[in-house]
């Protein structure tokens, strides 16, 4: 392999990318970057874009609109960045840019040069005029190693990625021997970001030493945890970084075929990655004889058909082979005998996306973040009861408290923190006492949760932990492939028991059974889904046993969540004579007028929808919720039916 030839070929591509970037800058017209990934589109980015286009043509202003991927700040969508060099302002990031705000921005900022301070989230660069986004914890506590370019470049334009330093990792890798490359990844200490944290370097080495032809790399993008969307964001926002990682991995292990496995429920991600493969092949960065070398890599996209369990590597392989997605016993591991019986490396989207910056910047740089055993960063989708939900990339070893309270702004509405569910349905619920736990593979596993793929649900005091456990078990029992006894039947029993408890019909024997059955399912199941499915139950039993006991022994739901264990009543002291608001909203006509012309709820009819509590004017605030339901005073309806 001729290194000079290789670097010269890449240099010419790089020159082209730089020239394009320079030309754009020289045009000196404003650029409007609109976040157009799935989350942005869901909050109306397409309408925002249309509004910009219309307003620009109305005012006859020349500006470039560039759709970009996700910045990770879901609370502020639709996000727009406007770079208007003529005004002297740095690029400014605007939050919640609705159609009306888009028009106003065109009118005020693009036309008259007034940057509309009330919509500003922050400037993207440090300056004297506008506070920079990096002044906020949500930005400056993050460490973007993997998502550095997400939301900053057009995912459909390969040259923007190249101009930002992309594919130089691949060039560097191709100048090394595969063996050196694997050494490099091993020294970096990169661990698989799919959940279990298996060292990526070791996996690659096992695959590279396997003596067989036609090795395959699979990128696992079958992200299915409720509330997790890191892989989708990377696929939609910076597909080329993933493809670069894929190519480096393939070169290292000696594979000539790669498959990106994406959920079919991610149509935009599928479209983006397919487009990216095509454009990379167009400039010989993928496909046959990459950059004129002897290394070829054929990348294709496979769409999953909607089974959660296909995120498990053996089930994923089965489904690519056209079989029913059911996990197989390991060993043999896929690195020995995977897809079509060939050695197969299955790596997560985040793992592969971590590779290019490691190769480019060196292992020392990577180990500079994170902890000794878990170097690098972790990407979490923090959702639930936090002020600033979204995607966060933080250094491993950061405490949960920092992540939830500093980066994500803590719990809104003056509520208090109750628990955080880490790792989706396979993870565990950790209480407040664990907030100082550092986020890394080993500490979280020790606490009973797990890193998982990176879903994090924060819950405030209004969440019932029994109900939360029930929710996750309901999810896993539905998504079980039905193959092995423990997972198929065991999780159904867990669900039935939790149903009983949340309905106030649980017994102490149920509680004991819940614990022992969970332990057995964990030990006895065939694959990772079953082995981790009881985790939400086990951790909530461990840390929130008092809540289970309150449900069973006192018929009480401490969070006032479980319908069967709560009741609404109207405080006659607070209720205003003559006010009829609650009567009108009750769907079952359970509210009647008392002799004193106030209102009361007929407990026999009430379905506990809570509408009356919502509509009762705040100055009265007369509808109260209690648990156990017996605490609600009962008033008999007068015989005339009123």
């Amino acid at each position: 392999m001729n290194k000079d030839d290789l670097t010269e070929r890449f240099a010419s591509i790089l020159r082209r990318a730089d020239r394009r970037a320079r030309e754009r800058r020289n045009e000196a017209i404003p650029t409007i970057y609109i976040v157009m990934s799935t989350c942005g589109l869901a909050s109306g980015a397409a309408e925002t874009k249309q509004a910009f286009e219309e307003a620009l043509s109305d005012k006859d202003i020349g500006a470039r609109i560039v759709p970009v991927g996700c910045l990770g700040h879901c609370y502020a969508e639709p996000l727009v960045v406007i770079d208007h060099p003529a005004t002297g302002f740095p690029p400014i990031c605007y939050h919640q840019v609705t159609v009306a705000r888009a028009r106003r921005l065109v009118r005020s900022y693009l036309e008259k040069g007034d940057p509309v301070f009330e919509y500003v989230l922050g400037a993207l660069e440090e300056n004297d005029l506008i506070p920079a986004v990096t002044d906020f914890a949500r930005f400056n506590l993050e460490q973007r190693l993997v998502m550095e370019h997400c939301g900053r470049i057009d995912p459909d334009d390969i040259y923007q990625y190249i101009a930002a330093g992309g594919y130089s990792g691949l060039v560097k890798a191709l100048c090394l021997e595969p063996e050196e490359l694997i050494d490099e990844i091993e020294t970096s200490g990169l661990r698989g970001r799919g959940g279990a944290g298996f060292p990526a370097g070791r996996k690659w080495r096992l695959a590279s030493t396997a003596k067989a032809d036609g090795k395959i790399i699979i990128c696992n993008g079958d992200e299915g945890d409720p509330g997790a969307y890191m892989d989708r964001t990377i696929l939609e926002s910076n597909p080329h970084q993933l493809l670069e990682g894929l190519a480096i991995c393939a070169y290292a292990v000696g594979a000539d075929q790669a498959i990106v496995y994406v959920r079919a429920e991610y149509p935009l991600a599928v479209k983006t990655i397919k487009g990216a493969i095509k454009s990379a092949e167009g400039v010989a960065l993928l496909g046959s004889t990459i950059l004129g070398t002897t290394f070829s890599l054929n990348v294709s996209v496979f769409q999953g058909s909607g089974a959660f369990v296909c995120g498990e590597e053996t089930a994923l392989i089965q489904s690519i082979e056209g079989k029913r997605g059911m996990p197989q016993h390991r060993p043999p591991y896929p690195v020995e005998k995977g897809l079509w019986g060939r050695p197969t490396v299955v790596n997560n989207v985040k793992t592969l996306s971590s590779v290019p910056p490691i190769i480019k910047n060196g292992t020392e740089w990577f180990r500079g973040s994170g902890t000794e055993t878990s170097p690098g960063t972790a990407i979490f989708s923090v959702v639930g009861n936090v002020k600033h939900p979204g995607l966060v990339e933080i250094a491993m070893g950061t405490s949960l408290r920092t992540l939830i309270f500093d980066v994500c702004g803590g719990i809104p509405n003056k509520k208090s923190f109750k628990a955080v569910q880490i790792g989706g349905p396979s993870g565990g619920c950790l209480p407040e006492s664990f907030l100082d736990t550092p986020i890394d593979f080993d500490s979280l596993t020790q606490a009973g949760a797990m890193m998982g793929s990176g879903g994090m649900v924060v819950m405030d005091e209004d969440s019932c932990m029994v109900d939360v456990a029930r929710y996750f078990i309901d999810f896993t029992q539905k998504e079980s492939c039905g193959k092995c006894t423990f997972c198929r039947i065991g999780t159904r029993h867990l669900l039935n028991i939790l149903d009983r408890i949340t309905n106030g019909e649980g017994s102490e024997q149920d509680l004991e059974l819940l614990g022992t059955l969970s332990e057995d399912i964990k030990l006895g199941s065939l694959c990772g889904l079953g082995e981790t499915a009881p985790n939400p139950v086990l951790t909530s039993l461990r840390y929130f046993l008092d809540e289970y006991e309150a449900h069973i022994k006192e018929n009480r739901c401490p969070a006032h969540k479980c319908r069967a264990l709560t009741a609404f009543y109207i405080d006659l002291e607070k209720c205003a004579r003559g006010c009829e608001v609650c009567v009108g909203c009750c769907p079952v006509e359970a509210i009647f007028t008392t002799r004193g012309r106030k209102k009361a709820i007929d407990q026999k009819l009430c379905v506990k929808c809570g509408e009356c509590a919502v509509v009762c004017p705040p100055e009265y605030d007369a509808v109260l919720k209690v648990s156990p339901p017996e605490l609600a005073p009962t008033l008999e309806r007068t015989p005339d039916g009123k």
Binding site: H329, G482, T485, I489, H493, D520
Partner: protein, 221 residues
Amino acid sequence: MVKLIVDGKEIKADEGRSVLQSCIENGMFIPNMCFIKKRQHPPASCRLCFVEIDGFDPPVTSCTEEVREGLVIRTDTAAVRRLQRTAFKLLMSAHHCEPKHCPVKGNCQLIRIAKHLNVGLTPKPLELLERDVEEEVDFAFFTYYPFRCVLCGKCVYICRQINGHNLLTFANRGFDTVIAFFGSGDPARFPCHRCGACASICPTGALVRKPECKRASGVTP
């Protein structure tokens, strides 16, 4: 040939065999539902054949462990029994045991396992689970009884082995998983040879052959 020690007794086994098969061939019973002798990759789905191997901490399924020289195995430790009993009770909570109507006469594997584990045929303390499926499903040449089926998958496997393609498959997910039959319309045009192997291999009487179907020779549960 390798030598290994099972419950303190030395047995000889062919290399490449699984621990489960070696034990069974040496007359030592280990509970199992989904195991088929010549099958290349055991599905390991019934989760009954747990044993403890010296050096491994939690029990492992013996159908997936290859015999090795000097292996020390115990089949009756407390941890093994606990998992086996739970797995068995789970199966019994989905298998509606009706001895009066059961087509499996005499040689019931479930009864054998119950005796071996010293437990009854009821799922207690677990409840008997109901499913939202029909009691009898018509498979053209067979009748399928979902409430008897333990989803061992033997029928799916044997059908593929004998016919080269599956006419039987798993359908649905989770607890609603059942065996399904490909084929609709005119039964005469089904690519089914009516060999009857699937019904003969069924250990729980969940697949029952209709009169027009052959009786498979040499196929037993």
